[in-house]
């Protein structure tokens, strides 16, 4: 069983880092987590976003969830809302695509056009 001593050690470490980080959440990633999203595999997508951001030590992105975004047939869906409030909607995601969005969009600022809703609807 995971011990409370371990938790205490993590706490101490986090406490040291907390002062160093810029806590302003400039970018938001919102994952659709209604029945449709969950059934289509939104949970591993959300975990991939969180883990990849952590791996790259990116602190200014807040990953959260919302209800049904409205196009259930394109789930799992995630929206990236940047500091200016501009929204990019990504569709038919999986964990691997989520990691690529972190690298290209969230780190380098270039949206992954081929995963966007616009691209998905064009190819129909």
């Amino acid at each position: 069983m995971k011990s409370l001593a371990e938790l205490e050690a993590i706490r101490e470490k986090a406490l040291k880092e907390i002062n160093l980080r810029d806590n302003t959440d400039k970018i938001r990633v919102v994952v659709g987590m209604a029945t449709c999203g969950i059934a289509a595999g939104a949970r591993p997508v959300m975990n991939a976003f969180v883990e990849e951001l952590n791996k790259r030590n990116i602190q200014n992105v807040n990953v959260t969830m919302t209800g049904c975004i409205g196009v259930c047939r394109l789930e799992p869906i995630a929206e990236v809302i940047d500091a200016k409030g501009e929204k990019t909607t990504y569709v038919k995601l999986n964990a691997e695509k989520a990691r690529r969005i972190v690298a290209e969009h969230l780190v380098n600022g270039h949206p992954v056009v081929e995963y966007t809703i616009g691209a998905a609807e064009e190819n129909k």
Binding site: L15, A34, A39, M46, V63, T64, C68
Partner: protein, 186 residues
């Protein structure tokens, strides 16, 4: 839904929307039955809505007319010969309880409870969760309020802390159900 942990993630969304601050999740194996119970202190439902809530064409959403979360859980329970019951008091909260016949060939596995809890805590760190796993001999409990107290101001939404929570829940599941249900990794 493939497993119980995905149903859990889905049903808890209802509690979050009902503005609950505490969500209690119980999974209990007793006399051949697996009880899966979610209790919240959210806004509850009017009796008229409660009556229709397992009808897939009932939803409080205004954008469209379907709501599949509870009907799907009902289906999963009934497939095994079990049942679903919902109690709700307006202003007090809601209890959703699904009863599965554990040995039924149609019973879905428990799945990755730890992944679901990690996602829930990550997305809504201000909410509190209590998790209980029980069988005839053992009990495991986990309370986010206790973790927060121990963290003493350090945010719970920290990757290492979330991982610790996930591992803790995985251990609990193994300790209580390992060998009885033997399906921890889904």
């Amino acid at each position: 839904m493939k497993d119980l942990s995905l149903h859990l993630l889905d049903i808890v969304q209802n509690s979050i929307k009902a503005e609950a601050t505490l969500i209690i999740i119980e999974l209990e194996y007793c006399a051949g039955k697996l009880l899966f119970k979610i209790t919240d202190n959210g806004c509850g439902m009017e009796p008229e809505i409660l009556e229709k809530v397992t009808d897939p064409f009932t939803t409080t959403r205004t954008t469209r007319k379907v709501g599949m979360g509870l009907p799907l859980l009902k289906q999963s329970a009934e497939m095994t010969g079990g049942s679903l019951s919902i109690d709700s008091v307006k202003g007090k909260g809601t209890v959703v309880q699904a009863e599965f016949i554990a040995g039924s060939i149609d019973r879905i596995p428990v799945g990755d409870m730890d992944e679901t809890i990690k996602v829930l805590v990550q997305a809504n760190p201000e909410l509190d969760y209590e998790i209980y796993f029980r069988n005839e001999m053992r009990e495991y409990e986990f309370k986010t309020s206790e973790v927060k107290k121990m963290l003493n101001g350090v945010p719970i939404r920290n990757m290492e802390i979330l991982q610790w929570i996930g591992e803790n829940i995985k251990d609990g599941l193994k300790e209580v159900f390992g060998g009885v249900l033997n399906e921890i990794s889904g």
